[in-house]
């Protein structure tokens, strides 16, 4: 980890920790004041000049604390607008990668689907067919939806809303998948930490749960899965930074999101199993992590989506080609 990244993580930790009980608006102000929104915008343009490894590290910190803000979406939206040469979205912003409708004669009519925190943000950066545009949300009809963790995933309906699209060469879906891997990795590590702490304090049959081999073995499996998610995520972020194949690290991000998705069942069920009934209550904070993990598993590509996309790509490489491709990419990175 670079010194800059260590400082960034430290600052993310303290700010995310401090906003735990704050309202959405207060929390947002604290995060915005810290300048996270411009994380990926280059320094020459007045941004922070962070790379994808920095972004991944911040997303992990957000995931660890189940941060109830669309922070990653804000970072990606701001970066994407900047890349397209558009004005930065004013205030809180989210992203839309599932667009049903089109921009014609400077106006967008249609639906931005499953916009994270759509009802709370001021603007949305939408990307479709190689074009990006920014839409203020005040003109939208909002169809409120949520993911299993209760996080807003709203459909925003627009009728002839003024929009100025600009060409952009980013695969926002892929970047958003990497964002979720970071959050999933953080949440999995936190679920592990909570489970270990619980096993070290809760007594049954006259000893703490941690002393039972069955519990130790289950926690070891949980730890190994959490380690796999973070190893995959960090490697994918690094690959995105170096982009040895010039495709935005599509293969690496696909593999990382899929591997993270594959870990969710074991991570959530084991954390709850170790906690027993107490972990199943509304009051106990474990569900803030586990329910998000379940929701994030589906977002920006579920298992089937990435398995087929990656599988089709690998099949074209051929049996020997798979090995040659993954080694070539990591050697060049």
């Amino acid at each position: 980890m670079s010194e800059q990244q260590a400082l960034l993580v430290e600052s993310a930790e303290s700010i995310f920790e401090s906003v735990g009980e704050a309202t959405f608006a207060e929390a947002w102000t604290a995060v915005e004041d810290a300048g996270f929104g411009i994380l990926l915008v280059d320094e020459a343009s007045g941004g922070f000049g962070g790379d994808w490894a920095d972004f991944y590290a911040v997303m992990r910190e957000a995931g660890k604390r189940a941060l109830p803000l669309p922070l990653g979406e804000m970072v990606l939206g701001t970066w994407c607008a900047h890349r397209a040469g558009l004005e930065a979205p004013p205030g809180m912003a989210s992203i839309a990668v599932e667009v049903n409708g089109e921009v014609r004669d400077g106006h967008f009519s249609g639906v931005l689907q499953r916009v994270p925190w759509g009802r709370r943000v001021n603007a949305v950066v939408a990307v479709a067919s190689g074009r990006a545009w920014v839409l203020p949300t005040h003109g939208a009809r909002i169809e409120a939806r949520t993911n299993p963790a209760g996080e807003p995933r709203d459909d925003l309906h627009f009728g002839k809303a003024a929009a100025t699209p600009a060409a952009v060469d980013v695969d926002l879906w892929l970047c958003a998948a990497l964002m979720r891997v970071g959050q999933m990795s953080g949440a999995a590590d936190s679920a592990l930490a909570m489970s270990v702490e619980h096993a070290n304090s809760r007594k049954q049959f006259g000893r703490v749960l941690a002393k039972f081999q069955a519990v130790q073995q289950n926690l070891a499996v949980l730890a190994a899965e959490a380690a796999a998610v973070n190893s995959a995520g960090q490697a994918a972020a690094l690959a995105r930074d170096r982009d040895p194949a010039g495709d935005g690290a599509e293969l690496e991000i696909a593999a990382a999101k899929l591997r993270a998705n594959m870990a969710v069942g074991t991570v959530t069920s084991t954390a709850h199993q170790v906690h027993g009934a107490i972990g199943f209550t509304e009051e106990y904070p474990l569900h803030r992590l586990t329910r998000r993990l379940m929701g994030w598993r589906s977002e920006y590509g579920n298992d089937r989506y990435w398995a087929e996309r990656l599988g089709v790509r690998v099949a074209r490489l051929g049996g020997a080609g798979l090995w040659r491709e993954i080694t070539r990419r990591s050697d060049l990175a």
Partner: protein, 381 residues
């Protein structure tokens, strides 16, 4: 909370050029083999292949040149191992000498021991085996009962080792014996080099459930070995032998030893597989890629001189699970090849791995032992 510190893998030289060198060697030297014998390939013995590999400079890569080594970088060696395993090369004869016995001799051995064994090992001609398990000491390794007793000019050995992989092919066994009579558990153990052609040493085969002879029993009945056969410090055998285990558990053989099966599936599926098969290939590729990142991270940590005991256990546990799930997932997804009797390369490899893969989480430390090590890393024990 995390038990897995991530280390950056970067070779000092051009890894692509090194891979090209190994691939060219394999194009020339990889023997035509029954496809089933290309799975679990680090257990497949082929002295002729090992000799050629040694001649090409791919054994003992890290060792000093004065012992026949090549003084290369540890991560260069890692690249070479990856290439050999991914191709299903029969590396079993020399594997243990190159991975474990040689490094132990460089760390703890005497000058005479190094001169006696290392050059032959680096040539791919002198093979080694590891005598740890006994009938009463498997996962509970500290229960070792075989003894070495000081006699005039050396030691007299008595006891029995079991599950000794490749003892029938090896010239020497690095073994752990009790040297302090009446000692218990981890105390009073010492490491020795035992030449397997000594009088009083008998190697008997144990044939496994697929009909292969990899394991052996080694009976030692009053065999006498010279003073110079002690490795390292008398009574420090436990520490020395367990340090060696981190080398044993962290390598790419823990997830890559049967890669040829996945490659064969991809070839059989063709460039446009149906959605079900594409999904299976995608999932396996994601696991393979992730395990590779983890294994490289452990290799980088080892190369920097740190001890990745817990990380190595994570890689071994996940790698074993992946290699066991691999044939199961492929069998479930195939069409007619799943009959396992059509004579195809894919069916042959699949049938072999379905049978042999349960052993992966037994050897080199069982799954339960690995998870116990991870639990210790979590401070649960």
């Amino acid at each position: 909370m995390s038990v897995f510190a991530i280390h950056r893998f970067a070779t000092s030289t051009d890894a692509q050029a090194l891979r090209a060198e190994v691939r060219a060697f394999l194009d020339e030297n990889l023997p035509e083999a029954n496809p089933a014998r290309r799975t679990n390939c680090w257990a497949v013995l082929d002295p002729d292949f090992s000799r050629r590999l040694g001649e090409a400079g791919f054994i003992g890569m890290l060792w000093p040149k004065r012992y026949g080594g090549h003084e290369r970088d540890p991560l260069e060696r890692y690249v070479v191992l990856e290439e050999l395993l991914a191709a299903g090369a029969p590396v079993g004869s020399h594997w243990i000498a190159d991975r474990q016995t040689g490094p132990v001799l460089l760390r703890y051995g005497t000058e005479a021991q190094r001169r006696k064994y290392l050059p032959g090992m680096a040539r791919g001609e002198l093979y080694a085996c590891i005598g740890l398990s006994e009938p009463g000491a498997g996962s509970d390794l500290a229960n070792i009962r075989s003894t070495a007793t000081r006699v005039e000019g050396g030691w007299r050995l008595k006891g029995q080792k079991v599950w000794t992989t490749n003892a029938h092919d090896a010239a020497v066994m690095l073994t752990l014996l009790r040297t302090e009579h009446g000692s218990e558990r981890r105390h009073g153990l010492s490491q020795f080099l035992v030449d397997l052609d000594l009088p009083g040493v008998e190697v008997r085969p144990i044939v496994d459930l697929v009909g292969h002879h990899e394991f052996n029993e080694v009976f030692i009945d009053d065999a006498e070995i010279p003073e110079g056969a002690l490795v390292g410090v008398e009574g420090e055998g436990w520490t020395q032998a367990t340090a060696e285990l981190a080398l044993e558990r962290s390598g790419p053989e823990r997830y890559l030893s049967s890669h040829v099966l996945l490659a064969s599936l991809i070839d059989a599926a063709g460039p446009e597989p149906d959605a079900v098969l594409a999904g299976v290939i995608g999932r396996l590729a994601a696991e393979l890629w992730t395990l590779r990142q983890m294994s490289m991270s452990v290799a980088a940590k080892l190369a920097s001189g740190e001890d990745p005991m817990v990380e190595a256990a994570v890689v071994k546990d996940l790698g074993n699970s992946y290699e066991q799930a691999l044939p199961i997932a492929i069998q479930a997804a195939l069409g007619s090849e799943a009959q396992l009797a059509d004579g195809s390369a894919l069916a042959g490899m699949l049938a072999m791995l379905l049978q042999s893969s349960p052993s992966f989480s037994l050897r080199g430390g069982t799954r339960e032992i690995m998870r116990g090590i991870i639990a210790r890393g979590l401070r649960l024990r």
